[in-house]
Symmetry: C2
């Protein structure tokens, strides 16, 4: 948070492990953005019975029953959800990074002298192994070139276009369909019980706001994310507009999550959901409040239906949403609930009808 | 917005004209914080019939009537209100500055070596003329010392205590009772018609959030204000907390208002209310959107019931919420509505029963 440079909260190992697995960084023409779906078989219908489902039901009961000593008035019902790896697939690499890499050709077209300048040259080469070897500083240059320097409207239009056309290579579906159906049900269930659901993401705030309402039913003002400054200016005809600047205001990851929650929401959540040590502080902050609190961590232990990674389970540490042993220990000590994708979820995606 | 120092959006002339008028910077014991009141005589009951009231009624009709070509879906109904001079009294000096000056003795008590250091020495002297001569840099030191360096909770507790005890010297009432009743009615009227009302203030976001819900019916997450960063840390027992830092994230004044709206709200308001050139960009930004938009400026032209200031009407320019001729001209050119406190409002405060 002390740097005013755009500081990507992704890391080199994520890039290496991620990009090497990607078959291509290609666009596909038109496909619909997924919509939040109501569970077909009632509330939390995609959850197996077990301690995780029970923890959610008990939390809602305790905080919404007026006769409960842990009753929380409706205006204080705030729930915070990490996005990458908690609400949608983050493996092998964050979707927003793919967006940035996909945008490089258009950036170079607009500024042709970048064609022979690194790291743009390497990205244009399409050589995945070389791209995977790019340094963090190089990646930062790509983020700055593709996420800033344009008007807020131009960015929205470009990202929206990409979201409806780009497809994940494994599932051959738009990224916005790779939403964890059980988590959508938790969001809907909490909202039905008077909770305001917020997304609190290390991803770009402006990026996630483009689809948050359509995909998660979360309005733009309830998205807290990594955010850069904007600059107010005027077009030649006097119309004002905002330009996205490469000036980091909020690095909404790790300690930045409670800091971002204070900045944008202004009060402590009663429930928080994450999947990695980037969410640790948010869960600690949530848990430090009085009364009933719900802290949950999604564990990616389902190699068949999604992915399995994270050292807490002796699974490979890909550094995307890492779940180290220390986080597992803290979760156990503080009675946070670990959600096993393999055991707790009947289905992973809305399009996945298989039940366990 | 480029400085990372705490940059007060108040100025020296405001301080000079303001402090010289204050009889004392004193606390008074216990008095209730004002509550938002429903108008006694129906919607907009404190408004005289006229073009200002008409503009509000027509805007709401056009944007909420499903058969209107200017209909706005409920989820897009955002209204932004400046605070100082628009929702409550700002003359002769912003209440938050009085809070900061009132806090100086406690700050010095905690750090006694400041006793003989400027500007604290001057503030402690109580000599109003000397205080009024303090430079902007001195004032900045006072803001940093009184608004940062403590936990979010400690700040809230202190400010809350002050708000219930400090009284405005003219009306002998808590500052939170010096709310413009007609504006409260506009907020309530908009909310009753599906609008989400936001406060977008140059004042401190954390300060205004303390009373926004109780006084205006605006929840904390709907307050956008000048905001510093916080720093996540742990007490000795491991409990996490946030410390308010002297690192400016958002200077929510002038161009900072649309920038702050983008950061916190993420979309363009359909209605915006201000009273000075600090609100110009917010009104421009609001007006640049498509469809029906409502832009209003409160003109302080009622010396008897409140204050009269602003050069647009040949009134003295005190630099608190200045209303220059250029703003008046822009308002006229762009069909923004200027509200005359003298002519458009039947009463100024809830406690003021006199009708014009």
């Amino acid at each position: 948070m002390t740097s005013d440079r755009w500081s990507p909260n992704i890391n080199r190992r994520a890039l290496i492990s991620g990009l090497a697995l990607l078959p291509a960084l290609s666009r596909v023409p038109f496909s619909a953005v997924a919509r939040a779906q109501t569970s077909q078989d009632g509330q939390l219908g995609s959850w197996n019975d077990g301690p995780a489902k029970q923890a959610i039901l008990e939390f809602v009961r305790a905080t919404t029953d007026r006769s409960s000593p842990k009753f929380v008035p409706p205006e204080d019902r705030i729930a915070a959800f990490d996005q990458d790896g908690t609400l949608w697939v983050e493996h092998p690499i964050y979707s927003q990074i793919i967006y940035c890499l996909d945008r490089v050709p258009a950036v170079v077209e607009k500024d042709p002298k970048l064609k022979n300048v690194e790291p743009f040259k390497t990205v244009l080469s399409g050589k995945r192994e070389a791209i995977a070897r790019l340094s963090l500083r190089d990646l930062e240059k790509i983020l700055v070139a593709t996420l800033t320097g344009m008007s807020v409207e131009d960015f929205e239009a470009e990202a929206k276009k990409w979201l409806t056309s780009a497809k994940d290579p494994r599932w051959k579906r738009p990224y916005t369909e790779l939403i964890f159906q059980p988590m959508l049900e938790v969001m809907q269930y909490l909202r039905a019980n008077g909770y305001k659901t917020y997304i609190v993401t290390g991803g770009g705030q402006d990026f996630v706001r483009i689809y948050s309402n359509q995909v998660y039913g979360v309005p733009v003002e309830q998205v807290v994310g990594t955010a850069g400054g904007t600059k107010y200016g005027y077009h030649k005809d006097g119309t004002p507009f905002l330009t996205k600047e490469p000036r980091l205001l909020l690095n909404d990851d790790r300690a930045g999550k409670p800091e971002g929650i204070h900045l944008i929401i202004g009060r402590r959540p009663h429930a928080a959901f994450g999947n990695s040590d980037g969410d640790r502080q948010m869960l600690e902050y949530t848990g430090a409040g009085e009364g009933a609190r719900l802290m949950m961590l999604v564990l990616h232990d389902d190699a068949k239906r999604e992915y399995a990674y994270g050292p807490a389970q002796g699974l490979p540490d890909t550094r995307v949403g890492t779940f180290p042993q220390a986080l597992y220990d803290e979760a156990k000590k503080k009675s946070w609930t670990v959600i096993s994708m393999k055991n707790d979820w009947k289905r992973i995606f809305a399009f996945d009808q298989a039940e366990r």
